[in-house]
Symmetry: C2
Subunit: 432 residues, 2 copies
């Protein structure tokens, strides 16, 4: 009789064990770890919702990462991970690992050479922290979409094979398109602007490509760009307000849905204040000098400047976010909307010391676009395609883009952005 | 006083006019059409939510597609599109079109040569039917995601630059990756399988690439693939049940949110029955012969066979959807799970006479994968990357993929799938 009863058991997920204390359950998952203490054997089982310690005797526990099912009784066990333990009645192998895992998942240290973990990513991505990072990213991206859909935005899907670069032509990957030369899109910039002419408010969540030779801990050659563009704005202030709204929603959903993941990383879920501080670039440079005695180099903010400015607003206003505004023309692309004083209506958003967004108002009138190109001695030649739509009525508009991996990494305190992408592509990495 | 009052008006959207009858409102949008009847002038204004006729006198209405704002009184007008008319008090140009639109949007006929409309897509995409098609697609894709998230699936983001093709190697676009040869992904097949080892249930909504030379009305070289993969299944039946659930949700959300769009196309919103009919391939071929006297060529179903089979189940069971199951090994890829009789646990889903999905259970055990490759005289050489993960414990799993543009087109009765993509890429089209 017992066998029959057990056979009709539905699978229980690890996260639901608290509802089954004292009962016999059926679990399915992977052998995360195993230990043999002579008469007693321990198996840590991992399913998509968590891990649980299972204990039994006279068991042949297969190699780590084998897929198994365990039938057993749930008992409370304060010292076990999660607070429960399974007393194994029956262990069955569903699918046997045929080689030892090249990485021992329970022992992964994030301070080892990332190359080793990334070489074996097809297995190492199963690690608890690895999967937690990508889980947070999936919730982040979906919250981004939901916030925008609720605000009347329409999702768009624009081409990633393009005939020219939106931002000038360097750092493009070349594609052989039926014998013609084409490129991978660096950004959906032009296409999202065209689509403002259709839906007024649009967004996209899609990969973009930068053929940058450098390999830093904050760059990827393929990354997920969260793009927004909206029409009928007064200035870049309207764009910043949409970005605040989006980040507030993201932070709220992450706090609601990913507490377990933040706990694993031993960090607090991010908090977005009701209003992010804003400071014009020139004032920011002065403030950094006055307050920290540091002179920012270049025309923009350098990494140390970004760090210090973030620190200031964190201490002064308790905000991890700060908008830097009013960049000079020569620090922005040709399509940035500028005023008589040579300053653009544009902004960067810093989060805990690093730029996570660039955005602003765009030039929407054809004559002004021609003027901007002439100003920079850029030829109209390469840009006819870009210019065409501006002959046919575009409202004042602007937008921004967030790099999903960089934001995910910053939220979790991950030092290398590669760990915030499932299968990163960098200068030396095309596999797996 | 009047001016001041008007100045503080918030913008009203066309869809909300019914709430403002008798009031003065502020509208913003594009000049969709204009007409001058001597003393009286008509302007049809288009915003993201609809079009409305505005009437006035002594107006200088700018060229079509200019961006304007109109202040005026809302009156009921049963003969006007939407049932309301605006009596213009003030017309202001926000952004002037500087050239006539290359396509007269209100007069677009969908039976003209698609090349003309696609050449000017940066403006023609503003057309009412054009934007309705892409709006339906955006709701379709988001419903797909929501259905899966609610069922415990995790969204993944996998690389589109890959070192080899998942399905054998032909029809790949080549990318110059820092001097190395790489390719654009034809499908996330391998990567979604790897991620079953992480989250058990995963999905992705991302572009895929097929370098197919032919130009038909149902193929695109870049399209949006809606991919699903799930572990711990008993057979492909579990996969079909997930696909039914997803399509039921999509149909429900489309009926709720896109009635206006279906009306514009003069079609009914799609309906997904509670259970889709299923028929094994061999039985399907016999049925087509017995019922229609038509002998299907080849080893699969041909387009005429698909059409007739759909017709049969539409008439017999009132279902627009039908699963064809149990394809022979030689009609499926090497990773399809097969049984002793040489039949695979796989399916195609037909909708109104066309295949919209291919899916099935995959081989999850390393020895069986080697056997399948040997069976086909395929060398292990090109597939080490693919094989590696199967050494490390994979549960029985399967999945499916839906081409978003093809499904959108079929739902709306669009003959050419290019119109279901914002900026289609085909053999001869890289622009806009």
């Amino acid at each position: 009789m017992h066998e029959t009863v057990v056979e009709t058991l539905q699978r229980t997920l690890v996260q639901d064990l608290s509802q089954h204390v004292g009962e016999t359950v059926l679990l399915k998952g992977w052998v995360y770890a195993r230990r043999d203490l002579g008469g007693v054997q321990f198996l840590t089982l991992r399913d998509r919702t968590g891990i649980v310690q299972c204990v039994g005797s006279h068991l042949e526990i297969p190699m780590a990462e084998s897929v198994v099912q365990v039938k057993g009784k749930v008992v409370q066990h304060p010292k076990a991970p999660g607070g429960y333990e399974i007393q194994i009645a029956e262990l069955q192998v569903i699918s046997r690992a045929v080689e030892p895992s090249p990485v021992e998942l329970p022992k992964v240290q994030w301070n080892v050479n990332p190359e080793t973990l990334l070489d074996y990513r097809y297995v190492s991505v199963r690690g608890l922290k690895e999967r937690a990072a990508l889980k947070v990213q999936s919730v982040l991206v979906q919250s981004f979409r939901e916030a925008l859909i609720d605000a009347g935005f329409t999702e768009i899907f624009t081409p990633k094979i393009v005939s020219a670069g939106a931002e000038g032509g360097s750092n493009l990957f070349e594609v052989d398109y039926f014998g013609e030369r084409a490129y991978l899109a660096q950004s959906p910039q032009l296409y999202k602007q065209i689509m403002v002419g259709v839906y007024e408010r649009v967004f996209e969540t899609a990969p973009v490509y930068r053929a940058e030779e450098h390999a830093t801990s904050r760059h990827l050659n393929e990354y997920l760009s969260l793009d927004v563009e909206l029409g009928f704005i007064e200035s870049d202030e309207d764009v910043m307000q949409i970005e605040e709204m989006v980040l507030q929603r993201i932070c709220k959903e992450l706090a609601d849905k990913c507490q377990k993941e933040f706990d694993l990383f031993k960090v607090q879920a991010p908090v977005a204040p009701e209003r992010f501080p804003r400071i014009p670039l020139l004032e920011a440079r002065q403030l950094i000098k006055d307050h920290f005695g540091y002179s920012v180099g270049g025309k923009d903010l350098d990494p140390e400047g970004e760090r210090l400015l973030s620190q200031y607003f964190q201490e002064k206003e308790g905000s991890d976010f700060v908008f830097v505004t009013r960049f000079p023309k020569n620090a922005r692309p040709f399509y940035a909307y500028y005023e008589a004083d040579g300053m653009t209506r544009s902004f960067d958003l810093l989060y805990r010391g690093i730029e996570i967004t660039s955005g602003g108002q765009r030039i929407h009138e054809y004559p002004m676009l021609l003027e901007s190109l002439a100003d920079r001695n850029m030829k109209v030649d390469g840009f006819e395609g870009y210019l065409e739509v501006f002959k046919h009525g575009m409202p004042p508009h602007g937008g921004f883009a967030i790099g999903a991996e960089r934001l995910t990494a910053k939220f979790l305190g991950i030092q290398n952005v590669r760990y915030a992408r499932a299968f990163p592509r960098d200068r030396h990495r095309l596999l797996p």
